[in-house]
């Protein structure tokens, strides 16, 4: 047995959170389990920052685990690790609350899965990681055990399991087509002419669910707000990216573009607009996430350079969305006007970045992806910024409406989204050249600036209108509300096929009849005749 080949760090980055997760189950550590969480993403973060070359293989694990890090993976890995780290720090106030040991354990499991998705080079590791993310995150959603959370959990688990199945089947089709377990080969095989479209469709289904692809997104606005704030942050910031990355990894170039692009756009606009009907700021953010993911899915569908730069876009969105969710938590812990204003200001800044206000990280991300887009889709992207601006302004308004009460260590709490926000706004600058192929000067060109600015500007009047005349406020769940009747209907199956019969009655009848026949046979005058008859019969039969 060879434990592993190649660099150990990628493997450690996955095993370490699992170990910590196992530790949280130890009775002495249970009360303080949350304290361990910030340690979990550290190796992964180190790996992302330090980079690493070469493939790590652990041939005995699963069906042979192989891990590798390329640029895109590294970017997402870093973002994810950072977000998880910050979220873990933000989760510290949960220490001592009920169920935190379970929460912590699954936190680690989801984290490991989330990292594994970005590291996996073979389909089985990928699938295992994805399943860990997908299913274990259920525990993050239902953690509060409120009626709402449990409902969200139910919806989530049903859809997630369906997604798992679709994924499993799709991956199996892919692996068979490729005659290989390697991710790259599977994508190539699926893209080869004549290969089964069913496989791709199933993969899109599986990943789309996680990535919030309309109309598979219905769980998301329920689940993300239901989780505790740190949970929401990772769900919306990092976990959805697993689905997105799956699409990037497995869906062949150009395949299903005509499907993915419109669906992405529908998500991008529809979700943003529907978000305006939400009162809960977390729900608003969730719709914003759907909207942003819609954009990214459109980019994947568009293919080419746009698709290549999706990780860059995702990086920004992950960090920013994480910051925004955390800010909701911070706002809940603030009652003083100063603190509330500070929160609002930070939220506004991050929101502006997400909306793509010039020179923010968001603007950079959008600029980077726009290069690879056709004109109409670039326009759509710009227009989506209008919707984004609209919903985020609405978010800020809803955020301001929140009433919290002061809690200890507010400064430290505030520092966390602040750090994320700073990273979101500035991080793209550091990577700009590598991902866009342009120098920083491109960003300061008038075209670029105007391109980024006008959608935000357009959004302001309708935003004011929305703030003034509210849209009807609806519970989250859009399509689910429409399909409400669907819930809870049980499957009826006909009664079992069984060999049951009226045994007693049959026995009685048989007893009666057999006694009758035996009663006839026992009469010698009758049976006796059979003797000579039988002799004669046999005589006739013999020669």
């Amino acid at each position: 047995m060879t434990p592993w080949i190649g660099p150990f760090l990628p493997l450690a980055a996955l095993i370490w959170p699992l170990l910590l997760g196992a530790l949280t189950a130890m009775p002495p550590l249970r009360p303080v389990a949350v304290r361990l969480l910030p340690l979990a993403p550290v190796p992964a973060l180190w790996l992302a920052l330090a980079g690493g070359q070469g493939v790590t293989a652990a041939p005995d694990l699963l069906l042979g685990v192989t891990l590798e890090l390329d640029d895109a993976r590294r970017l997402l890995l870093g973002m994810t690790a950072a977000l998880w780290l910050v979220a873990a720090l933000a989760a510290q106030p949960m220490t001592g609350r009920p169920h935190t040991a379970i929460f912590s354990g699954f936190w680690c499991l989801v984290l490991a899965g989330n990292l594994g998705v970005f590291l996996a080079l073979d389909v089985v590791t990928f699938y295992v990681s994805f399943a860990a993310v997908s299913l274990a995150s259920w525990f993050l959603i239902v953690h509060e055990r409120t009626e709402k959370a449990l409902h969200a959990g139910r919806v989530y688990i049903v859809i997630a399991l369906a997604g798992e199945v679709a994924l499993l089947v799709g991956l199996i089709i892919g692996a068979d087509a490729a005659q290989s377990m390697a991710v790259g080969e599977i994508r190539a095989a699926l893209g080869a002419p004549g290969s089964s479209a069913v496989g791709i469709a199933l993969l899109v289904l599986g990943f789309g669910i996680k990535a919030g692809l309309v109309p598979l997104h219905v769980w998301l606005p329920l689940a993300h707000p239901a989780a505790p704030v740190p949970g929401s942050a990772v769900l919306s910031g990092a976990i959805v990216k697993a689905g997105l990355f799956g699409l990037v990894l497995f869906v062949p170039e150009g395949a299903l573009g005509p499907v993915l692009m419109p669906l992405g756009l529908v998500g991008a606009f529809g979700a943003a607009l529907w978000g305006l009907t939400q009162a809960n700021p977390k729900a608003v953010l969730a719709y914003s996430t759907i909207s942003q993911m819609g954009l990214m899915i459109m980019l994947v569908g568009a293919g080419g350079a746009a698709r290549e730069t999706v990780p860059f876009f995702a990086l920004h969105h992950g960090l920013a969305k994480g910051a925004l969710f955390l800010l909701v938590g911070v706002m809940m812990a603030a009652s003083g006007r100063g603190r509330r204003l500070l929160c609002l200001a930070l939220a506004a800044a991050v929101s502006a970045s997400v909306a793509g206000l010039p020179l923010t990280g968001g603007a950079l991300a959008k600029a980077a992806v726009k290069q690879g887009l056709a004109d109409w889709s670039a326009l759509a992207l710009s227009l989506s910024s209008v919707a984004t601006s609209l919903i985020l302004i609405w978010f800020l308004a809803r955020l301001w409406q929140m009433q919290g009460r002061d809690e200890a260590l507010w400064g430290a709490r505030f520092a966390l989204p602040a750090a994320l926000g700073v990273l979101a706004v500035t991080g793209p600058w550091l990577l700009w050249s590598a991902w866009s192929g342009h120098g920083p000067d491109y960003l300061f060109k008038a075209d670029t600036l105007i391109d980024a600015l006008w959608p935000v500007a357009i959004a302001l009047p309708p935003a004011a209108a929305v703030l003034r005349w509210r849209l009807p406020q609806l519970p989250p769940g859009d399509l689910l509300l429409i399909l409400g009747a669907w819930r809870g209907r049980a499957v009826r199956i006909p009664a079992p096929l069984s060999l049951r019969a009226d045994a007693d009655g049959a026995l009685r009848a048989a007893r009666r009849n057999s006694a009758r026949l035996e009663g006839i046979l026992i009469r010698w005058r009758l049976t006796g005749v059979l003797i000579p008859l039988l002799v004669l019969l046999m005589f006739a039969l013999l020669p």
């Binding site: 047995m1 189950a25 041939p59 005995d60 694990l61 699963l62 069906l63 042979g64 685990v65 379970i102 089985v124 699938y127 295992v128 399943a131 860990a132 299913l135 239902v142 055990r145 449990l150 688990i157 399991l161 369906a162 798992e164 199945v165 679709a166 499993l168 089947v169 991956l171 199996i172 089709i173 692996a175 068979d176 089964s196 069913v198 499957v491 199956i493 079992p496 096929l497 069984s498 060999l499």
Partner: protein
């Protein structure tokens, strides 16, 4: 010495059985020592055999009964796989059963038949000829009956009667099949496939069907499955035995033997009987799951789950493509590990919390965390959640289905996974997220009950985690299929 190794392995179960029958109820210590000792010695012998087989040794022992009737014991990789599984699970189940039965009555009878059951299972595994297989197969039927009826109440007796009602006609059919085939070919040994060219294909198809009915009943292929859910009235160790260690496994093992060592894959393909069998298995998978959904008793739900899961094995071997075979063989072990975990836990719930119905599970997760964790692992594994063993089987079966140009298998697998989730997730939900009833009495202060469950759960996880290693069930299955069936 080495020639006698198979016999010694059989004796490790038979001797304790024979002695146990004559022990008094009060001889707890002696009985436990005998049974545990037998299980441990058997494990050691199997390890010895593994080492020897790895070193190229082969074991074959023939005991002539009558001309044409030879009891042939032989060890090949498939036999080793099955015998290792049953031996391991036997040890766990014995530990569990000793604690489970505590000071309940009729223990000598119980453990006697229990060991006899394992003896029969081992015999099935080691059988090198069709007739030896049948002899042990029937012995299994018979030694299981007293176990199902163990509680001796009306329900148990009804279940036991139901069991025989299925088992005996099917074994008769099996005998007819064997005799029919052997009358044309002479005694059939698993070492060299019989020459079937003298039999016309129509007859062969009928014989094949008879074989499948004969062994498929134990594997609970629908519509021959009715006995299995009914038999869940038996004590938990018996359920473990039925569902994981011996009975359904013997059935599935029988299907494998029939397809690969009696008919041979080529012949099966020629006759065109593989696909109908796979379709039947698929139907069983789905139908079993649907029925499981309707059950409100934990063990019944688990029982229908077994109906469904065991057909994975049959599906795999019926498809007969390389990956499918490997998946099917591996699932033989995987299902055993996961299902025994579940039944152990169900037994603990019953024993320590008095819970039999699904409603009763509410909130037990906190009171009985170890048990509930194991239960969850088993359940999730059944659903196919990685990295627990079940998903490996599913992947292989899926790929195998495509290799066999039967893409509908994927639909079956998908539907089955969803259904598995549908009937297991609510249980987990209740365990972990409902509040426990205020007056509930539940604890898990019974290490000998919980220990085996933990061990089995751990094994299920490891089987999935380390699937690619040579010594994993999957590795073994690969070896078997490469060495014996798919040159």
């Amino acid at each position: 010495m080495t020639g006698l190794l198979p016999i010694f392995i059989l004796l490790t179960s038979l001797v304790p059985a024979a002695i146990t029958f004559f022990l008094r109820q009060e001889s707890y210590r002696l009985r436990n020592a005998l049974n545990l000792g037998g299980a441990v010695v058997k494990g050691a012998l199997i390890v010895a055999m593994l080492v020897a087989v790895a070193g190229g040794a082969s074991f074959e022992t023939a005991i002539p009964l009558a001309p044409g009737l030879v009891l042939l014991l032989r060890i090949d990789a498939l036999a080793l796989l099955f015998v290792s599984l049953s031996a391991t699970l036997w040890l766990l189940t014995t530990i569990y059963a000793i604690s489970y039965l505590g000071e309940k009555p009729e223990q000598s009878r119980f453990f006697g038949f229990f060991s006899l059951c394992v003896f029969a299972t081992t015999g099935i595994a080691l059988s090198g000829s069709l007739i030896s297989f049948f002899i042990f197969f029937e012995l299994l039927t018979l030694s299981t009956w007293p176990l199902v009826a163990h509680k001796q109440d009306a329900a148990s007796l009804r279940a036991a009667r139901g069991y025989l009602l299925y088992a005996l006609p099917c074994s008769t059919i099996l005998l007819v099949a064997i005799v029919w085939l052997e009358s044309a070919t002479g005694p059939i040994l698993f070492t060299d496939p019989p020459d079937l060219s003298g039999v016309d294909p129509a007859s062969l198809r009928v014989i094949f069907a008879l074989f499948i009915v004969g062994v498929g009943m134990k594997a609970a292929i629908i519509p021959l499955h009715g006995w299995l859910p009914a038999a869940m009235v038996a004590p938990a160790p018996v359920s473990a035995l039925l569902h994981a260690v011996a009975v359904v496994k013997a059935g599935a093992f029988g299907v494998i033997r029939v397809i690969y060592d009696v008919f041979g894959i080529e012949r099966v393909a020629e006759l065109g009987v593989g696909t109908p069998l796979a379709a039947l298995a698929s139907f069983t998978i789905i139908w079993g799951s649907l029925r499981a959904l309707q059950q409100t008793e934990i063990k019944k739900r688990l029982a229908y789950s077994t109906v469904s899961q065991v057909s994975y094995i049959i599906l795999g071997v019926a498809l007969a493509s390389p990956f499918a075979v490997i998946g099917g063989l591996a699932h033989l072990v995987h299902q055993g590990l996961m299902k025994i975990t579940l039944f152990f836990c169900a037994g603990i719930y019953d024993e320590r919390a008095g819970v039999r119905s699904i409603e009763g599970l509410d909130g037990l997760g906190r009171r009985m965390p170890w048990t509930s964790t194991c239960f969850s692992i088993g359940a999730l594994g059944m659903i196919g959640l990685p990295p627990i063993a079940g998903f490996v089987s599913k992947i292989y079966l899926g790929i195998g289905g495509l290799q066999a140009e039967a893409p509908w298998v994927l639909a079956v697998l998908g539907a089955s996974t969803l259904l598995n989730a549908a009937y297991f997730v609510p249980l987990l939900y209740r365990l972990w997220f409902r509040e426990i009833a205020p007056d509930a009495e539940a604890d898990e202060r019974a290490p000998a009950l919980v220990g085996p469950a933990v061990a089995a759960a751990l094994a299920a996880v490891l089987a999935g985690m380390l699937a690619a290693s040579d010594i994993s069930p999957l590795g073994w299955a690969t070896l078997i299929s490469e060495r014996d069936y798919l040159e």
